[in-house]
């Protein structure tokens, strides 16, 4: 077994969490698929493992952790700049 650079919590997730810094242009392997990291991803942050369209849900632990506020490409850094809370969105619309 070897050192991991990211973890995926559930097979339904569309994001991965880094456990090391990942530099821009770095190639990572998910299953048998290669994916290029588009921006520098800090330690403990997330990147998209598939294309996510604006308004679509971000899934981690197999659960919704937010909504995309813009189109997110595979390998993009996912954080407060491009996702928002789905929970707060629902509460505010109640």
């Amino acid at each position: 077994m070897e050192k991991q650079s990211f973890l995926i919590m559930n097979s339904n997730d569309n994001c991965a969490t880094t456990v090391t810094e990942l530099g821009q242009g770095k190639e990572v392997k998910i299953g048998d698929k290669f994916l290029k990291i588009n921006q520098e991803i800090p330690y403990g942050h997330k990147f998209a493992t598939i294309e996510i369209k604006k308004g679509e849900k971000i899934i981690k632990y197999g659960q919704i952790i937010g909504l995309a506020v813009e189109d997110i490409k595979m390998g993009d850094w996912i954080h407060t700049h491009n996702i928002k809370s789905y929970y707060l969105e629902r509460i505010n619309n109640e």
């Binding site: 077994m1 090391t20 403990g44 942050h45 981690k60 919704i64 996702i83 707060l88 509460i91």
Partner: protein, 393 residues
Amino acid sequence: MSEEFMGYERPKKQVGIRNKVVILPSVVCVNHVSTQIARRVEGTVAIPHPLGCGQFGPDFSYTSRTLSGLATNPNVHGVIVIGLGCENITSKLLGRSVKRAKKPVEFFDVQDVKGGTVEAIEKGVKFAKSMVTEANELKREPFDFSNLILGLECGASDSISGITANPAVGVVSDKIVELGGTSILPEFTEWIGTEHLLIDRAINKNIADKIKKPLRLFLENTMKLGIDFRGIQPTPGNIEGGLSTIEEKSLGTIAKAGKSPIEGVIDYSDKPKGKGLWLMIEPGLDVESMTGLAAAGAQVIIMTTGRGSPVGNPVSPVIKICGNPKTCDWMKCNIDIDASEIITEGRTIQNVADDLWKKLVSTCNGELTQAEILGFEDIAIWRVLGTFPFSLK
């Protein structure tokens, strides 16, 4: 694999994994008397605290229930309660609750002892000596895990606790529940954002309402104070660490409670009314939280930590598990289980959970945790009113 542990049989069908004699001050004024007694008699533990006098309403309930709960935890063989004599949480009140639990107990007030604290310490030492001698005659016997209550805690978390140590604890919590035991998840402020998931896991609608109500009340009350709790989570530190939304943060917290159904909701320091997974209303401060868990009867607590926390408890052993490779190295003396191998070696959460299970069993059998070896035994009790609900500002 044998699913048993070696514990001490207690009255009222309880089972302890430690065999302690507690020296309990009912009020801050006699803390020093209790710590002096404990210093002189091996096998005792004093539980000093800053409360016990001038406490009213919810604070009176929380303090008296918590102190009684600690004194009657299954890990405790017997108790010596010391009062001063003029406080409102009295030695008699606490002593009687220990009596109801059918445990050996002695209680007295320093003001009733001719010779003041010097003689009170002598009196306490004599009681303690004879109680420890009696406790020493008890032998460990095999019990199954339906007799165990596990407390789930996290503190000094970092951005990877929620993806390493916490889910490993969830696997162990589910196993305790499968074996007929009990598990308690406190820190209700950290469930916010995941209410829908917890409600889905409630065993019936009544329990679902019991999850909804305190969260709604908490948010309404904090709103009245001008604090939008949902708006301040995740904190700037959390965001810097990589947590993007309140629900992402809370999902990491509730991962400690695995996937088991939720049997009910208990108030701070209250005892679960059955087996399985229970939620405890508690605001989320580590030492206060673990005090509440031990008072609820948890014989053992598992605490995940990312940045590294040394805290323990005077009656229940605390097992530390950490997923951060740097902390596991720098604060090795404070960590029992290294979950950072999920990152450094590519081990699975299940692998680490297996190690944690083994550690849990050996802790139940008497092996000391790092917090026990190093002597971390502080308590703190949730206060609603504080010293007095008044301020010039």
